[in-house]
């Protein structure tokens, strides 16, 4: 089980994932060896699964970001799997989520501009299988983006 020391360590690591282990140990007020051992254990137990670089798509020229909320035709038992498999083939889809609620799935789609978005939407999204309904939310601004947990 996780204790307060693990949480403290993860809190500090969340705050700055790229800091060297020495700085991390100091921030968490732990001896270096303890911090090291704890991190290893968090990794081997699957709590800490890895670290990923975050790409700023705006900086790469993708200025349009749209959330597509999708309702699927659930009369087909394969609807979810076939829809998700096909959605994975669209490079501009950067996130795929499934839900319990009014919508079944959500795709986050990026494009360089509205003309390109329209092309992707018509050519790649509307052609995905088993879609019953689509609602679009266009991103205006990201106010808070903390993928961190309130540990």
């Amino acid at each position: 089980m996780l204790d307060d020391i693990d949480r403290r360590l993860l809190r500090q690591l969340q705050a700055d994932p790229s800091q060297p282990i020495g700085a991390l140990a100091e921030a968490a007020r732990l001896p270096l060896a303890t911090a090291y051992k704890r991190l290893e254990r968090l990794q081997s137990s699957g709590v800490l699964r890895g670290q990923h670089a975050v790409i700023d798509w705006h900086a790469l020229g993708y200025s349009v970001e749209v959330s597509l909320r999708i309702t699927l035709d659930k009369t087909n038992p394969r609807a979810f799997d076939e829809f998700l498999d096909a959605a994975r083939e669209v490079p501009e889809v950067i996130e795929i989520q499934t839900f319990l609620g009014r919508v079944d799935a959500r795709l986050k789609v990026i494009a360089r501009d509205l003309a390109e978005y329209q092309q992707i939407y018509r050519g790649r999204i509307l052609t995905l299988p088993h879609i019953a309904d689509i609602e679009a939310l266009m991103q205006v601004a990201t106010i808070k983006n903390a993928t961190t947990l309130p540990l």
């Binding site: 699964r49 990923h52 975050v54 700023d56 205006v140």
Partner: protein, 151 residues
Amino acid sequence: MIEPDDIDRAILRLLTGDATLKASEIGRQVGLSQPASWRRIQRLSEAGIIAGRRLDLDAAKLGFGVTVFLGVKLAAKSRVSLEEFERAISAIPEVQTVEHVLGLYDYRLRVVARDLSDFERVLRRRIMTLPSVGTVEANVLLSEERRPGPI
């Protein structure tokens, strides 16, 4: 803005997979020397294309069993005080992301909680008590995957 070439794209793909890879290892995989690969990573970071790192934590193992996406429509007369709403909602630790959107809702929130009753507490005591909140729609996250995107 720099236009990344094929090698830059390969580096971005590797780092989004594992941000802890050393410059030497990345260089080996894309056919560059350690210093050359280090310089490219540096350049991608300075250009803001690599925006940072994200820890991949197993939320369930850390006691956060529920993630809910909320679509929030503000009460009509509160539209004037967007900043106030944004400040108040961003201050709630369980609210991980706040996106201002155009469409059916005004804001899209990602909320993490220990379980459904904990989520209900956050929703009732912290979110619904904000004076500007009008209608709210909730969808419980079942699965989530991040895709590499068009690189």
